[in-house]
Structure formats: structure tokens, C-alpha cells
Subunit: 212 residues, 2 copies
């Protein structure tokens, strides 16, 4: 797990509860949030640097802030990325101008694509970036069918991630495969609507369901 924020901790705790072994990676091995999280979570949880966490993981989650994602990955030995699946949950938000944020990458590019281009041997799957952390790990908290999206170039990687999403409570019928990693532009740009829905609804605990 790369990133010790609420997203990383929420997904990490859910995966540990499901029986997975999770190493929470941060810039430093002794990040207080990661240390406290690993201590509270008990067996199956550890904390380490980004580099050591990436080395330990069979499957990686990018839960860093979008603006920090490439720097975090740059601190990892590339041989610890090659061939692995990276679930990219980050959004390239620029919050420096206040709320609502704008995107630092959009329209003709996306963070997901940029990570994939930088690490061609990494199998990037963009998903879960369209919902708040509490919905990511417990989709049943919402009262009607709703959807999450996967974008990625590697079909087998998307199957692996869809299986992991099912473990987390997202039935296959709730997962829409948008296509290759360029489709991450769609879900990242949706954030511009998400932040305004958050403002209008007064809660982050919502999602969209596709209606046909």
C-alpha cells in the first residue's frame, strides 16, 4: 500500500480483515500514521518505506496524493514494479487554490496513463478513484446499485483487480470495464463533477449508478 492517508488506511484495513498481508509504505519507515495503523490493525499489517513496501507486495495500491504519486514510485526499485499489478486509486488534484480543486493532469492525459507510460512493465489498473474511502471498502453502505470503473491495458490485471473488488463488496455486475488505461481520463475528470456533488449533497458518501 503506497500512501498512508485515509484511502490507504481504509483499503489496508479492509484487506487485512479479508486475510491479506499488507505493508503500508510511506516516505519514511517510521511514518506515525503508518506505525499507528499497523499497530492497531494487528497481525497481517506492517509499515515500511515505499521501496520496501513495493518489494514486499505481490499487488500494489497507489493511494498517495496524485501530485505525489510519481515521486513515490520513483523511490521504488523498478525491478520491484516489473510485472506487478498496481491499483491506481489516486486523483491528480491541485488543492492549492482551495475548494473545489482543479486537476493537474486532464483532458488529453491522465495520471493513470502517466504512471503506465513511466513504468511500461507495471500493469496499471485505475479504479475506485470515483468514490470516497468509506464507499470504496464498503459499497453496501449505499442504498441502491451503483458502479465503479476499471481502466487498464492488461486484461488479466483487470480480472485480478475485479476479483479483489468482489472481495471488498463490489459484485462483478457493479464493475464497468471502460477499456484501456487512456479511459482513466474519464474517471479522473469525473472528479470535477464529484467535488461539486459533494458540495451540493453535503456528504461524500454517495456514488453514481448507471441507468439504462
Amino acid at each position: 500500500m503506497l500512501g498512508t492517508g485515509v484511502v490507504g488506511r481504509s483499503i489496508g484495513s479492509r484487506l487485512v480483515a479479508l486475510g491479506h498481508t499488507v505493508t503500508m509504505g510511506s516516505r519514511t519507515a517510521d511514518n506515525p500514521d503508518a506505525t499507528a495503523w499497523a499497530g492497531a490493525t494487528g497481525g497481517g499489517a506492517a509499515h515500511a518505506t515505499f521501496a520496501d513496501a513495493a518489494r514486499a507486495g505481490d499487488l500494489l495500491f497507489n493511494c498517495t496524493a496524485g501530485a505525489a504519486s510519481l515521486e513515490a514510485l520513483a523511490s521504488v526499485d523498478p525491478s520491484d514494479l516489473a510485472g506487478k499489478v498496481l491499483v491506481d486509486v489516486a486523483n491528480p488534484l491541485d488543492v492549492s487554490g482551495g475548494f473545489p480543486p482543479i486537476l493537474t493532469i486532464s483532458n488529453s492525459d491522465s495520471l493513470g496513463e502517466r504512471i503506465q507510460r513511466t513504468y511500461p512493465d507495471l500493469r496499471v489498473v485505475k479504479t475506485l478513484n470515483t468514490v470516497t474511502a468509506s464507499v470504496m471498502v464498503d459499497p453496501g453502505v449505499l442504498g441502491a446499485p451503483h458502479h465503479v470503473f476499471v481502466s487498464g491495458d492488461d486484461a488479466e490485471a483487470k480480472r485480478v483487480v475485479t476479483g479483489l473488488l468482489a472481495e471488498m463488496g463490489w459484485p462483478p455486475t457493479s464493475v464497468v470495464d471502460l477499456g484501456d488505461i487512456t479511459t482513466a481520463r474519464g474517471t479522473e475528470m469525473y472528479l470535477a463533477l464529484w467535488v461539486r456533488l459533494y458540495g451540493a449533497l453535503g456528504t461524500a458518501q454517495f456514488n453514481i449508478g448507471l441507468v439504462r
Copy 2:
């Protein structure tokens, strides 16, 4: 009605069927699509230049291509815009690079805002730009509750438009007021997801419903 494409003709026909008088505006008074539409629609329908259509209308719809919207409005006498409500349905899509299109305006600006800034006395309400024409005019064609959004600086204009949406089949519970016209960025940028859902689902006849 500014714009004679499928969106303009669909909304125009629906409004005529609801008893409204509609003038379909185009660059030229004798646009073949507008002429054919007005002829087929019968009473309550006319065709004219953008300028004459805007002069005739109490309430205006911008259904031009997003890239052509400001040029279309520039051909109208500004005194025929002042104080009127403009329902902005257009999206600033650049289709020159093929499918999927990119946006010509996004992130820190939107077409809706640009129209509002250019015509401060016009009361711009962005709406309906998140669904295909057949859903705009017949939301009941979809099988479950789904939502449409309104963005605009003028609360009374949004009330008028919400009333018109209700006539077209959108109950008030399906209309989400996102806030001022800057929130048009959200619905316009959602198009980046919409076009990819269109690709993945193989149909344009879908929408999103908010789930809480």
C-alpha cells in the same frame, strides 16, 4: 432554439408537443434541417436566423456545437439576450481528433461560464448536457431513477428551467442544483466519462443516478 442538430430538433419537437411556440435558429434563415423540421412539426414551429430566433424567444436554448456557440450568440443583437434565460445544453467538444473527443475548455473554465461572462445580462443555466438527446426529452425511457444537473448564477432562472424540465418529464427530485455557473465545469468534464461509457456500453441511451 439555437442549433438545428439532433439536440435542437429533439428539444424543439418536445416543446412544440407541450404547446410551446418554437423558432429554430440557424446561421441562415433557410437552413434545410430547420426548414424540414418546422414543416414536419406543424403549428408552433418556425425557422429563422440565430438573430431572429433569439429576438422571437422568451427563453433561449443553446443547442449549437460547443465550438460554435459563442459565434452563434455573437450574431444576435445583445438587446435580444439581456434579461432572458439561456438554457445551455452544449458541450465544448473537439471532435477533430476522432473518438473520443477532448474538451476545448475545461478544468479552470467551462463553456457555460464563458457564455455567462460574455453576456452578463443573460441568465445562463447549464443543464441536460450530460445525456443524449432522446433521454433529454424522454427521461422515462430509462428504467430507474436518474439525475440531471442545473448550474447557474440566477436562482429564479434555475426555477424556470427546473419547471421546464418537469414539463419534459424530469421530476424535481431528479434535478440536482449544483450551484453557480462555475459548476458547469463538473457536468462538462463528466463528458470525458460519458464518451467512454458510451464506448463501453455500446449505447448512448443511459444516464447516471445518484445513490446515497
